[in-house]
């Protein structure tokens, strides 16, 4: 196991940025450490200075605004899974984060760590991908806002360079049934806790008069990053929200994805088939959540 030399707990974002700037690449942001510490243990990480962002008050907040959510960069999975606001207005994120690891992991692990660790099936990131989240990234050079889909360079490789920049907050539109918008999450794993998904699917959608206005579908792990079938999403605008259409959509998505075979997490043909099942179920569930909505 490698070890860092110094560990900082800044109380403000400015202080955190100052520390990163000071160590010029030898420092690194740490959230809950649930990905980073195992990487130290396996000698895959060698930052000398760790900058812990979990004591910065504004990064720990979940704020529900008029029509959007702002999630602080150091908000934990437990916070998201336990928030009534998130449950009411971003159910897909509540459902996804409650699946992460175990209570211990959810208490420590943060949503930004889930994005920056860049695993194609990270549960929180899959939900945020369907939510079309905008990620606020701050560095000594200032702040930029980037859609989550543009933050991936490859499996385990993020465009966010946490040796110089911090995800300060994440923003997305709220999912409001009153506007006929709804969401859902589905996941298949080898057991009921502490298991990475064989397949996970998040959807957000809007309907009008029994037809899809739009839908966003995020699927993992079937590509280098959380995968969105943009073409099919375009195609389904205007399609009826009945079982048969959903079956066709799910089938098409499944034809499109190219999951890998894993000795531990399922072979490609099984995963492909499960994408069909879970996309179908997630869409059905989201539509059912609109309840009274007439066809």
């Amino acid at each position: 196991m490698r070890r860092w030399e110094q560990y900082f707990t800044p109380q403000s974002l400015e202080e955190a940025i100052f520390l990163l700037d000071k160590y010029k690449g030898a420092g690194k942001i740490i959230g809950g450490g649930t990905d980073l510490i195992p990487q130290f243990r396996d000698n895959k990480e060698e930052s000398k200075y760790l900058v812990d962002v979990t004591q910065i008050p504004e990064m720990k907040e979940i704020s529900l605004l008029e029509d959007s959510f702002v999630i602080g960069g150091a908000v934990t999975h437990a916070q998201l899974a336990g928030s009534q606001d998130v449950y009411n207005y971003a159910q897909v994120l509540a459902e996804a984060t409650v699946c992460v690891g175990s209570p211990q992991i959810r208490n420590m692990g943060t949503i930004s760590g889930n994005i920056v660790n860049a695993q194609p099936a990270a549960d929180g990131a899959i939900a945020l991908t369907a939510l079309d989240a905008q990620v606020h990234i701050t560095s000594a050079d200032g702040e930029k806002v980037v859609p989550i889909t543009e933050l991936y360079r490859g499996v385990g490789k993020s465009k966010v360079d946490s040796t110089i920049e911090v995800i300060s907050k994440i923003e997305f539109k709220k999912i409001d049934k009153v506007q006929n918008v709804s969401s859902a999450f589905e996941r298949l794993a080898s057991r009921k806790a502490l298991a990475l998904p064989m397949v996970n699917v998040a959807v957000c959608l809007k309907t009008t008069g029994g037809q899809f206005d739009w839908a966003r579908i995020a699927i993992g792990p079937v590509a280098q990053m959380p995968f969105r079938p943009f073409l099919i999403e375009d195609e389904l605008r205007g399609m009826p929200t009945d079982e048969e259409s959903i079956r066709i959509i799910a089938e098409e998505v499944s034809q499109l994805v190219q999951p890998r075979s894993s000795k531990l997490r399922g072979s490609a043909d099984y995963r492909k088939e499960m994408v069909k099942v879970l996309v179908g179920r997630a869409l059905m569930k989201a539509i059912a959540r609109l309840g009274s909505e007439p066809y």
Binding site: M1, S102, L188, S190, R191, K192, A193, L194, A195, L196, M198, K263, L264, G266, S267, Y270, E273, M274, V277
Partner: protein, 766 residues
């Protein structure tokens, strides 16, 4: 009979500390001046070691000793049933599986020790790998040891061939068994040091301290009297910590450096090199009348011993003895063997071969019932063993009144009606499985486990210390023995302390294996307490001037019957005994009186719901009925039953320590799932049948392993019932079930064929 403690729930005194993380384990201890040890392990699966160069490692600053086979003063060999495993593989020797230790390093820190490993150079000449046990006996296959078969088992009675020709129905079936990891929370760890008397002292988890003492002394060529082995708090074993792990290595490094040495295996090392549950294959041919009476059974089984014999000799015999199941069968032929391969070493795992046999026979019985068109419960009722019947092996006698059917009826009553599916694409199934597990009763002819020593000492402050050599493996033996002493001496539990598993302090009592600790040590402690009380009563009778059978013990006071007002404190009586020359330490070496093993019956019923689209299986209900003789501590018995049931469920649904060409695939607990608290079945029921077993302490039988036999086959049978798939291979992961459902129609299964070995068993070789 009104009891004080026996049969009442008593919490384990260490329960809160274990649950809150306060209990200290070997890996957490630090001694002054302590060195940290690490193992250099083979990366090859099967290879000759040509050269070992540790010179660079030895020169690294902070490295205090590097040991190879050359540094071992004694015999470079260890093993339990057969001595075939090197302590450290020497130059000119062979590595037979990945992870075999070649050198060990002691350094001032773990980091330095790890760095030193990188500086060790070993040259190998790779040899062909044998990974398929089915090929192990072929002349053309690579040879792992001089002999190919570790152990054979043979049992026959009647004339199976004739019975098959006369049977109305004959079923053939082959069950494949996957390899299971014990997955105990505590990885292997130990500390060794010289005490002030120059005794090489070793703290390390194991299932018996005396075996550690013997093996360490042999390897270091020092008398056993110069070695003290103590098993401190142990974080799970399930059979997996019987063989030598860290012990000889840390002891050797202490021997060389004269300093305390600690070695802790990482989870990866533990999974790489700990023993596993034997994978294998069981072939069945069963003949029956059309009414469903089984007339004959032919069994041919093969267990993969892996690279060393370890416990295979015992496991083969135990599997053979369980192969016929809890049924009366007049014509039997069982042949089985364990063979060497270059796969992970198979050892003891809760049930010791019995669960493998039980899964296989219980799947086969279901298929036989289906073929006959008879109800799957009915066929078990019809053929279940009854008191006095001859079981299908030579090591058991049905000497208790409980029958298989008692457990079947209790389990079914607990199950109630079969649940309804929770939605569309869901199918519900129910499975039943029965067994007759064995337990050791310290009976002379078996296993060399004979005898269990215990001491009970009355101290002059009126407190009592119980000492016996068995190990607390989490099954609650420590509190149960305290209950027995407190019961016999009519004391409060807090006046009794139990000291276990220390080769210098406790009498030899055999290992905690074979579900024997309660039966053997329970009997020993009970007899020792009675003996002690009797001795003290002689003095009390003298003091109170009454015959000794009128002396009454009552919660730390002693008086003559009817004269409670003149009671004397037990502490005072103890003092008087001591000053007048009464020996206050009583000592018993319990040896069983039976000429056979103990047995019990068990039936499990499981309900599952299968998702037809994903193949996911949810266990809705698991209920097991156990014939336990008598519960000493009911809460302990019931938690054993629940835990064993869930462990068996893990094997049925998710656990598979796969290997390819000798290399294991899951490398840590992330890649090898076991059930979590969330996976425990929605509804569980535990049924207890108490009919005191005459020779057991208060009537108790063994239970620890028995809990791990039936949940696996009950769940597999339930899945087969729900979605009509074969499950001749498991675990039933979602993908396995999904694939089997997909292939349901196209998969016109060819009949299993009889392996040739049934016809020509070779001679027994161990």
């Amino acid at each position: 009979m009104e009891t004080r403690y026996i049969g009442k729930n008593v919490d384990r005194p260490d329960a809160i500390d274990s649950a809150t993380g306060k209990l200290m384990f070997c890996a957490e201890k630090r001694f002054p001046d302590m060195l940290y040890a690490k193992t250099f392990r083979s990366t090859q699966t099967h290879a000759e070691v040509l050269e070992i160069d540790v010179s660079k490692a030895a020169q690294l600053e902070g490295v205090v000793a590097v040991a190879t086979a050359e540094d071992l003063p004694g015999v470079n060999i260890h093993g339990i049933h057969a001595l075939d495993q090197p302590v450290l593989v020497p130059v000119g020797g062979k590595v037979r599986l990945p992870g075999e230790p070649i050198a060990v390093v002691a350094a001032e820190s773990i980091e330095i020790a790890e760095k030193a490993l990188e500086l060790i150079e070993v040259k190998y000449k790779p040899l062909e790998v044998l990974s398929d046990p089915e090929l192990a006996c072929l002349e053309s296959s690579p040879q792992v040891h001089d002999k190919r078969i570790v152990r054979e088992y043979e049992y026959s009675i009647g004339d199976v061939e004739r019975a098959f020709s006369e049977a109305d129905v004959v079923l053939e079936y082959t069950q494949h068994l996957s390899r299971q990891e014990h997955a105990y929370i505590e990885t292997e760890a130990g500390i060794s040091f010289y005490d002030s008397d120059g005794i090489l002292t070793l703290f390390a988890p194991a299932q018996e301290p005396f075996n550690t003492r013997q093996q360490v002394a042999r390897a270091l060529a020092i008398p056993e009297s110069k070695v003290r082995a103590k098993v401190p708090n142990l974080g799970g074993s399930f059979g997996g910590k019987q063989s030598m792990t860290v012990q000889i290595h840390t002891a050797l490094l202490t021997y060389m450096t004269k300093r305390p040495v600690q070695m802790i295996w990482t989870r990866e090392e533990s999974m790489l090199f700990s023993t596993k549950r034997h994978p294998g294959r069981f072939y069945y041919k069963i003949g029956a009348t059309k009414e469903g009476m089984i007339t004959s059974m032919l069994v041919d089984f093969l267990l993969d011993a892996g690279a060393y014999a370890d416990q295979t000799p015992g496991v083969v015999v135990s599997a053979g003895a369980t192969a016929i199941g809890p049924y009366f069968v007049p014509n039997i032929k069982v042949y089985g063997k364990g063979v060497y391969t270059n796969n992970p070493i198979s050892g003891a795992f809760r049930g010791y071969g019995g669960p493998q046999a039980t899964i296989s026979v219980e799947r086969a019985i279901d298929l036989l019932a289906d073929k006959l068109g008879i109800d799957r419960v009915e066929i078990r009722r019809k053929n279940g063993l009854k008191t006095g019947d001859k079981p299908g092996n030579a090591v058991m006698v049905l000497d208790s009144r409980v029958t298989l059917n008692d457990t079947i009826e209790q389990a079914l009553a607990m199950a109630g009606p079969k649940p309804m599916p929770s939605g569309k694409n869901k199918k519900v199934g129910r499975g039943i499985a029965c067994c007759m597990p064995q337990f050791d009763v310290s009976a002379k002819p078996y296993n060399g486990l004979t005898g269990a020593g215990a001491e009970v000492e009355l101290l002059v402050d009126g407190s009592v210390q119980v000492r016996t050599g068995v190990v607390e493996m989490g099954s609650g033996i420590k509190v149960a023995l305290a209950m027995i002493a407190a019961e016999e001496l009519v004391l409060d539990m807090n006046k009794v302390d139990v000291v276990l598993s220390d080769s210098m302090l406790t009498p030899k009592a055999g290992p905690t294996v074979a579900s024997r600790a309660m039966y053997c040590c329970g009997n020993a402690v009970k007899a020792a307490a009675i003996q002690l009380k009797d001795r003290v009563n002689i003095k009390a009778a003298e003091i109170f001037q009454v015959p000794k059978d009128l002396i009454i013990w009552d919660n730390g006071k002693v008086y003559a019957q009817g004269k409670e007002d003149q009671a004397m404190k037990l502490s005072e009586l103890a003092r008087l005994c001591y000053v007048s020359g009464t020996n206050l330490v009583s000592s018993i070496f319990f040896v069983g009186t039976h000429a056979h093993l103990g047995h019990s019956f068990c039936t499990a019923v499981a309900d599952v719901e299968v998702d037809e689209e994903t193949g996911e299986v949810e266990v809705l209900f698991l209920g097991t009925s156990h014939d336990v003789g008598k519960m000493i501590n009911p809460i302990g018995v019931k938690s054993q039953i629940l835990g064993g049931g869930v462990q068996g469920m893990g094997w049925a649904l998710m656990e598979d320590m796969k290997s390819e060409n000798g290399q294991i695939i899951p490398k840590n607990l992330h890649e090898y799932p076991i059930p979590t608290a969330n996976d425990i079945p929605k509804r569980t029921e535990i049924g207890i049948i108490e009919d005191p077993y005459p020779t057991g302490p208060y009537g108790a039988k063994g239970i620890g392993e028995h809990t791990n036999y039936t949940s696996t086959p009950a769940i597999l049978n339930a899945i087969a019932d729900a979605v009509q798939i074969s499950l001749d291979k498991f675990p039933a992961t979602p993908e396995t079930v999904w694939r089997a459902m997909k292939n349901r129609q196209s998969d016109a299964k060819p009949l299993a064929t009889c392996p040739s070995s049934v016809l020509e068993p070779s001679t027994v070789t161990v």
